[in-house]
Amino acid sequence: MKTSASTLPIGRWLGYAVLILFALISLGPLWIAFKTALTGPNSLFGSGGSLLPNDTTLFNFQRVLGFVDPTDPRLQQTGLAKITFFRALLNSVIFTAMAVAPQIFFSATAAYAFARLRFPGRDLLFFLFIAATMIPTAVLFIPNFILIHDLGWLNTFQGMAAPYALMTPFAVFFLRQMFLSTPKDVEEAARIDGASYFSIFFRMILPIHGPSLATLAILTTVSTWNEFFWPFLIGREESVRVIAVAINAFRTQQQAGVPDWTGLMACTVLGVIPMVALLVFFGRKVVESFQFSGMK
């Protein structure tokens, strides 16, 4: 300790400075998006290098959400894209709910069977499920696209959600590990008292493992909300396209002229708000969920 008595404070201050720098790097781009979204479309030219919005207004949020009267003269300016983002937000909610809720339920039933029940073929099946985590999306997307295409499910929510709705190898693996981590004495006692496997699953497994299920729900919701590639292949029509697909479409539509930056940034901010809200309201749980996502 005595050797570092004089150097440690300086080291600590330097450490804090570096940490603050990284915090600024993390949040800076999000702030720039936010301030651009608050900038009046006509004032963008003069404010590129400024850290604060110029001509502060909510007009961009209102127009991308469709809350501005179509005859409003402010919408007639050149360079303003026709952006309909409200539908995309709604589609993201539907897609995420359809993909995440059944996935967690059916992954939990499977994980319970893998963790607690003995049946022929169990270990081989579990090995195959684990091996599936190695298969890259790049291999699966062509045959999966063809399957959805043959089912006539292109541009439908069921087509977008189907590959996620029944299981993901990660969800099954994660929940099995959690279920194995608690002693099974209580369940065995319940069995002796005549409880069925169904009531053990619903009355004991699910309630006891509520926190693990919440962790999985957070991880899965975030990744599904942010998913791009698969919804991009299956759901490009305005009626089903999710925020990531919509933002990509707005950006590629406008390649010729100067993009409608204030409108696009209003969309990005709206797309990020649910995730920021998750962090603000459930910060510790979210942070710990992601820290835990790497544990094996």
């Binding site: 298969i135 496997y197 009355r203 995730m275």
Partner: protein, 314 residues
């Protein structure tokens, strides 16, 4: 919470009763219940993982544009791939991207993790570090695309102010790929840091105390206690982020679409183009199969080099 569980248990009780009265013996049988509980997941696994993997390999042996019936070609696609300069250039671009991305991301993640461990237990600061990872690839790309806009972008104003001049980052052949790597480093470094931070917390404090008593320097402690004991976490982070980086797609779709020229035409972008712009499902599937095998080899090599099976904690 209590209402929720009571609804669930009522529901399960009625389901259970129904089963019990009709097929009492079956639902009491462990093997039957095991299969019953696993059936929905098994259907999903079979339809969207098992069969597609087999089918991808089969499609790779054919010529198929989705309009006419596939024509069986044997290994022709694979032979053609060997002589396809575009394929090899896309592999090279991808490897280059991984080399830009992974070392910087890993080192920054480690640095942040060590600082977090030494200086603060604050959840707020960890939330801030995680924030970019909660932003989708598309939105991250969009925000950086705007910040780096050559005319109005914030960062170009900053560079100008520093006397570095403005750059068209995404339309410059030499800058486009490193810029895309930088976007992904920004998005991933905090998440990597949190994973490393969790690993750091499992290292017993008494090892550092002992080292301090013996007068070991900070660097010595880092290199002979922290790094070796953190190895399982490092292996996990490296393996998963390398597999992810090899499949970079979203950022490229939003920003450069493979350009300028072929500067950012990575392997998955090329596979996507072959499949959906040129409608060559067979050739695209053959490439994806090769990518799969390549990733397996890269992963095995990493595990071997990093000796993932051994634990230093004993």
């Amino acid at each position: 919470m209590s209402t929720k569980t009571s609804i669930l248990s009522e529901h399960s009780a009625s389901v259970g009763d129904g089963f019990r009265s009709h097929k009492k013996r079956l639902t009491e049988r462990e093997g039957f219940c095991g299969w019953l509980f696993i059936t929905p997941a098994l259907v999903g696994f079979t339809l969207f993982y098992l069969l597609p993997t087999i089918r991808a390999f089969y499609i790779g042996l054919t010529n198929w544009n989705l309009l006419r019936a596939p024509k069986f070609l044997g290994l022709d696609n694979y032979l053609r791939l060997l002589g396809d300069g575009k394929f090899w250039s896309s592999i090279w671009v991808t490897v280059l991207y991984v080399l830009y991305n992974i070392p910087v991301q890993t080192v920054l993640g480690l640095l942040i993790a060590v600082l977090l461990k030494r200086l603060t237990g604050s959840v707020v600061i960890r939330s801030i570090m995680l924030a970019p990872f909660l932003v989708s690839n598309v939105i991250a790309a969009m925000i950086w695309f705007w910040m780096l806009d050559p005319i109005l972008g914030f960062l170009n104003f900053v560079f100008q102010g520093l006397g570095l001049g403005t750059h068209a980052f995404f339309s410059d052949e030499n800058l486009a790929l490193p810029t895309i790597a930088a976007i992904n480093i920004w998005r991933h470094m905090g998440y990597a840091a949190l994973l490393f931070y969790t690993g750091l917390q499992s290292i017993p404090e008494h090892l550092y105390e002992a080292a301090r008593i013996e007068g070991a320097s900070q660097w010595k402690m880092f290199s002979s206690i922290t790094l070796p004991l953190l190895r399982p976490t490092v292996v996990f982070v490296l393996v998963t982020s390398v597999i992810g980086s090899f499949q970079i797609f979203d950022t490229i779709a939003v920003t450069t679409q493979g350009g300028p020229g072929t500067a950012t035409r990575t392997i998955v972008w090329y596979i996507y183009q072959e499949a959906f712009s040129s409608m060559r499902m067979g050739y695209a599937s053959a490439m994806s199969t090769v990518l799969f095998l390549g990733l397996v080899l890269v992963t095995l090599a990493q595990m071997r080099v990093l000796r993932s099976g051994e634990s230093d904690l004993g």
